[in-house]
């Protein structure tokens, strides 16, 4: 427990966060919670990038993280707009009930 914190610790944390987010996407039925799990995955990637940026003594990882956050904001805004339009038409937020394109 008293080992100094290495970059490996941050990578393990990032991997765990990624797996929890993946479970959220695959297992939940509510579309809003699936989108929140996507945000968890993006945060896992951000932790990874910043940890390596710290490890390699360069700022490239942090610049990349800024762009990841920008794209995440854009994607959340458009995704939630789509969700609102979907709810207005189908009156449900459960993914297994949104099956208009199924054969």
């Amino acid at each position: 427990m008293l080992h100094p914190i290495t970059t490996g610790h941050y990578l393990v944390l990032s991997a765990a966060l990624l797996l929890i987010g993946t479970l959220g996407i695959l297992l939940r039925r509510n579309v809003v919670i699936i989108m929140m799990s996507i945000e968890l995955i993006l945060n896992a990637v951000n932790i990874n990038l910043v940890a390596f940026s710290h490890h390699l003594k360069t700022l490239n990882g942090q610049v990349f993280t800024i762009f990841v956050i920008t794209v995440a904001v854009a994607e959340a805004a458009v995704g939630l707009g789509i969700l609102i339009a979907l709810f207005r038409n189908k009156e449900t937020v459960l993914v297994d009930e949104i099956d208009l394109l199924k054969w």
Binding site: N43, K57, F67, I69, L80, L94
Partner: protein
């Protein structure tokens, strides 16, 4: 010593918030758990000496994205959805696949353990984190920066169009 305690506290906050986000029944509770998780990530950024990202994470992610999520959760009536089953019917295969992926991660993280040792201790920096980041962003990464602003414009127009009642 303090570093270790802070890392484990923020890591616990992040992972506990994440587990609660994917497992709670009420969507508003999940959003609050997501806020907790994002705050933990912001603390980790600060530990990694990324001060600008710490501020950006709090302002943009917590103060922007989660507030947006809460708006939409309130707009969309989720009481019906809260009474339904939380998880998919076919849950075993995704769970096994994720555990398998986790085993793969553990495998190659332990293999590369020696490469991920402590970085050299930080020397005093010539300029602060924000100045260095701004230098890099406006010199080496100017084109991606402009493209990002175009992306945000597209996102603004797109989200307004998607949410309008009559197109």
């Amino acid at each position: 010593m303090l570093d270790t305690i802070l890392f484990y506290s923020f890591a616990l906050l992040t992972l506990a918030g994440a587990v609660l986000t994917v497992s709670l029944r009420n969507a508003v509770h999940c959003a609050i758990a997501l806020i907790t998780s994002l705050a933990g990530v912001a603390g980790l950024f600060l530990l990694l000496r990324a001060e600008f990202l710490f501020a950006v994470q709090i302002v943009l992610y917590i103060g922007g994205i989660t507030v947006l999520f809460l708006f939409v959760i309130m707009l969309v009536n989720l009481d019906q959805a809260a009474l339904q089953a939380r998880f998919q019917r076919h849950w075993l295969l995704p769970l096994l696949a994720t555990v398998g992926a986790g085993a793969l991660f553990v495998g190659f993280l332990t293999r590369g353990r020696d490469l991920l040792a402590l970085p050299a201790p930080h020397s005093a920096e010539s300029a602060g984190n924000v100045e260095q980041l701004a230098d890099m962003l406006f010199r080496d990464y100017l084109v991606p920066f402009e493209i990002a602003s175009l992306l945000l414009l597209v996102a603004i127009v797109g989200s307004v169009m998607m949410a309008k009642k009559k197109v």
